[in-house]
Amino acid sequence: MATLNSKIPTGPLAEKWRKHKTEIKLVNPANKRKYEVIVVGAGLAGASAASSLADLGYKVKCFVFHDSPRRAHSIAAQGGINAAKNYQNDGDSVHRLFYDTLKGGDYRAREANVHRLAEVSVNIIDQCVAQGVPFAREYGGLLANRSFGGAQVSRTFYARGQTGQQLLLGAYSALSRTVGAGAVDLHTNSEMLDLVVVNGQAKGVIIRNLVTGVISRHSADAVILATGGYGNVFNLSTYARGSNTTAIWRAYKRGACMANPCYTQIHPTCIPVSGDYQSKLTLMSESLRNDGRIWAPKKSGDARTAADIPESDRDYFLERLYPSFGNLAPRDIASRAAKRVCDEGRGVGTTGLGVYLDFADAIGRLGEPAVRERYGNLFDIYHEITAENAYKAPMRIYPAVHYTMGGLWVDYNLMSNIPGLFVLGEANFSDHGANRLGASALMQGLADGYFVIPYTVGDYLAGQKSGSRPSTDGAEFKQAEDNVRGLSNRLLATKGKQPVSYFHKKLGKIIWDHCGMSRTKAGLESALQKIPALREEFNATVNVPGSAETLNQSLEKAGRVADFIELGELMCRDALTREESCGGHFREEHQEADGECKRDDQNFAHVAAWEYQGDSKSPLRNTEPLNYEFTKMSVRNYK
């Protein structure tokens, strides 16, 4: 049984982080260069961590599977990043951001972590501006804000519809600076395929060079995973195609606990699926809900075009159901509402799986140029994909998989239950509970990398003797390398008939149907039958052409999909055991009369952290109780 000590500092909520920073152990400047830290991933979390640790003087080795760190999936974030600056004078504060985020997560996150996130949010904006991130500005030259879901203040900073791009390019520039200065040893096209644990501590990784196929061993004093989310378990999602779970999954198989894997986020405003060839779903940023109004026909089966449906026959269902938040209701709530409307036969578009996002009012009120200035690039994307003009007719949108709140379990220091293994960004489970509010993932990634890990990694390293890094000739390294070689050889040797994509699509459908926007006991049980059968079919019939000694994209995909299949099973198991509804986890058996989530704080106010027990045994479910010292767990109300 794993020990899950959250290490939350004592003291008043608002003092915890400050107090912790003063009590934490430090590594003296001259000793820092004697410690080597491996950072896997260079999205917002990894790039900010790698450059910040290098600036402190640690030796840093950074690995990314991308051909450049600038291509990490963070680049695709559109809408914005939250910070409690209160520049709008609309009543925002660290406490309010804390409270909104905690409530948004349906009281399934740790109070202390969320409070720290809100505290450092203000430093993030300062840091990014200093790096040259070109945030939107008002005519007076000061920073502009917009509103996002789940908040009644305007605290979201943005750079047109490309906030993630600009923040990542900022972090990438810091990383590039430290690489150029020789402080970070950067390895691109390098995929981590195993974690090496020596004497119970994370001390290295096994890497495959994706271009040459060469497999290498790397040892370090600490290992940081910042490898992003696992939403591609659904196959169709708003993630980049390459995003995967391999790094955290293989760490799980080395003993790191996987927390709340069933907490996934379905984003309400994405372009609907158009055909079975489809490889990805495109997000239409939540920022559109500032000015767009969501509606569906009142009557089921209404075949008229949007323009022909008069006001009296339209149902602006979010405004009707949630008058105080309206179109800015949180994502899980907005998504389920859209699903219900479509389930009632009121969906629009050829598939009936869509609702309208309408800008006619905004265009009337602000004029088309103002709408174009705010959202032009999103309207362009919509046009490219659908060949439709959203200035003239409303967009059609449908929920799609967007974010994974679950991830590796970490304590307050962002260290997993394997000492020396730290997990940052979307790869950990820490701050978003059962539902993430918009514009808070970018905030968390940068908080972790710029402002948390620089302190907490030192606390761990101070307890390690410098120069005690194990040699890569050790038995643990050899065993891990053999494991990696064995996996690719098995995949290449199967020589079956089915392409990897066949299994990914099948898995995605099982998870979407049974562990998606709404879940039932029966559905999850059937998924738990189907997934092991799919895994067997995969092992027996997958076709992976080519060799391991060159760039082999089929082999890369096969390894990732094999991990997704196993993870999918764990997600369903987690969803089945959590006999309550909370945030993005909606169990049909547990709902209020009006269809809202019915939490069970008596029995489920805890983190479920799954521990691997071997391929043939069921994993162990450990729990970490969520003790709310300062906030009352109440029923989320957005009405």
Binding site: G132, G140, R241, Q278, T282, F451
Partner: protein, 270 residues
């Protein structure tokens, strides 16, 4: 209901560059691509073709991609001679099959440039771009050292122009489109983005000199003002940034030769 796309399924022939590795010779090979839906993206078409090739025991075509929405800069195909294909202001991944007609032969190659060697088939090595960034594409601001963000107002016009330049996705289409394989558009976008902001002034001279000199050393050609780069750029980055960088470069060279004071620190930029 919204208009149904009634276009019929159609077929094309692909003439694709196949090259087993960096040191091996490459050649064009033809494959049929059948039953295509006009709403498929170009890369989705390649996915379908690849599954068919694999089923026939032929190794799938290696191609680079990730976000599939025009922002990561990974995709990099030259389609019918045009980097990123026929559309204006879009990347390869934002090219849809509705841009082609039944019976077309579509020629697909990797971006070609001396500084971007082919790794395999349609995949190229663009590490040179990272090296240019590492030489100077940053503002030095260690975490923890930043002043209050609103202490430094920036005129909206300057911020907007900086953002126009900052949108570059680092794809390299500009290099592939240029007959000299020059990287001037890419480099000028970064130099201008940072040089337009007051925060970027302290390192302005150093940055432009280091980035341009590194670019030259990495084997990119020189700019002869043909502006094929801007036309191929998926973000339509303006070639005006090249002129801006040239001015910066001259001034910086002058100042560094005479070791005079650094560039003005009042912000806004020349």
């Amino acid at each position: 209901m919204v208009a149904v796309n009634t276009q019929k399924l159609f077929s094309v022939t692909l003439r694709v560059w196949r090259q087993a590795g960096p040191a091996q010779p490459g050649k064009f090979v033809e494959y049929p691509a059948k039953d295509l839906n006009p709403n498929m993206s170009f890369l989705e078409m390649l996915d379908v073709v690849n599954d068919e090739l694999a089923a026939q025991g032929i190794e799938p075509i290696a191609f680079a991609h990730d976000c599939r929405e025009g922002i990561c800069g990974t995709c990099s195909c030259t389609i019918n001679g045009k980097p990123h294909g026929p559309g204006k202001g879009v990347a390869t991944c934002q090219t849809y099959m509705r841009s082609f007609s039944d019976g077309d032969t579509i020629v697909v190659e990797p971006f070609r440039a001396r500084a971007f060697p082919v790794i395999k088939d349609l995949v190229i090595d663009r590490a040179a771009f990272d090296k240019i960034q590492q030489a100077g594409g940053f503002i030095t601001a260690r975490a923890g050292s930043a002043p209050e963000a609103n202490a430094l107002p920036i005129a909206k016009g300057d911020a907007d122009l900086a953002m126009d330049a900052a949108q570059c996705i680092g794809c390299g289409a500009c290099v592939a489109a240029c007959k000299n394989a020059s990287a001037m558009l890419f480099v000028s976008a970064k130099v201008s983005h940072l040089g337009l902001l007051p925060q970027g002034q302290a390192e302005r001279d150093r940055r432009v000199l280091a980035m341009v000199n590194t670019m030259d050393a990495l084997g990119f050609g020189s700019c002869t003002n043909q502006y094929e780069c801007s036309a191929a750029c998926p973000k339509l980055i303006s070639h005006d940034f090249i002129a801006r960088m040239n001015r910066d470069y001259v001034k910086a060279s002058f100042r560094s030769a005479f070791k005079a004071a650094p560039a003005n620190t009042s912000g806004g930029g020349a």
